[in-house]
């Protein structure tokens, strides 16, 4: 990667992380939507510098759509039922997750494919899931994820109504 692409990557990373922090911390749906749009633009830049032009285009369009949805005044706010103690525990868990992921990235020997499966044969499973049956795996994963998200949202709305 040459210097121009590297500068573009660092600038795009800063823009996307600033957008992410804006989504987390800014008040008001308008500002959150704007921050999500900034995140989408930065994410498109990251993909573009990583030689993933189609992913950059799709991500920018999708995240700008997300920003429009989040900023829309048509949706009413739904207050959660989670107490402040659990929110603080969750925030600490997010910090721990960041530390674990950063340590994993720093010790990223696994990406050089020096591990070939072990006794469970995960390398062969990975080849099947992510190469031969990639689309089916993605479809099932998205279906399960959408089902969990929908069930959680419905549960929270029902708990709020009580």
């Amino acid at each position: 990667m040459d210097s121009l692409h590297a500068i573009g990557f660092y600038v795009s990373s800063g823009v996307s992380l600033a957008g992410g922090l804006g989504v987390a911390l800014l008040p008001g749906r308008d500002l959150r939507g704007l921050a999500l749009g900034v995140l989408g633009v930065g994410l498109g830049g990251i993909y573009l510098t990583l030689s993933a032009g189609l992913a950059a285009l799709v991500a920018a369009v999708c995240y700008l759509g997300c920003a429009a949805l989040v900023a829309s005044p048509q949706y009413r706010p739904v207050e959660g039922v989670v107490g402040s103690l659990w929110r603080q525990v969750g925030a600490i868990a997010a910090a721990i997750l960041l530390a674990v992921l950063a340590y994993s990235a720093f010790r990223g020997d696994f990406v050089h494919a020096s591990f070939y499966g072990g006794v469970f044969g995960v390398a062969n499973l990975g080849r099947v899931f992510f190469a031969h049956d990639a689309l089916a795996t993605e479809a099932v994963a998205l279906l399960v994820l959408a089902a969990f998200a929908g069930a959680t949202a419905m549960w929270r709305v029902r708990e709020r109504g009580r």
């Binding site: 987390a24 799709v58 207050e79 910090a95 929270r156």
Partner: protein
């Protein structure tokens, strides 16, 4: 100045952790839903980075394909969550 896989994974870790923080910290459900695209963005960056740097001689399109699906899935999940949360005055 150069970029390696470790730097890309650091950025991905930052996005994922920011998304988790948003999802657990916000009281409003519609605001907490905005954390989902952040987590998906981090995962997509990790996939694209691995496809760019770690698949030397191998197919790079798998990581990019996952990044595309993750972006579409994030949009679908936000739309689904907001739709379930309900429009103003619908009930």
């Amino acid at each position: 100045m150069t970029v390696g896989l470790v730097v890309v994974l650091f950025v991905a870790a930052g996005l994922i952790a920011t998304g988790v923080f948003t999802a657990v910290w916000r009281r409003d459900l519609t605001a907490a839903l905005a954390g989902i695209p952040l987590m998906f963005a981090g995962a997509g960056v990790a996939f694209a980075g691995v496809a760019r740097f770690a698949t030397v001689g191998g197919p790079q399109l798998f990581g990019q394909e996952f990044a595309v699906v993750l972006a579409i899935g994030a949009t679908a999940l936000v739309a689904l969550g907001l739709g379930i949360a309900g429009r103003e005055g619908s009930r």
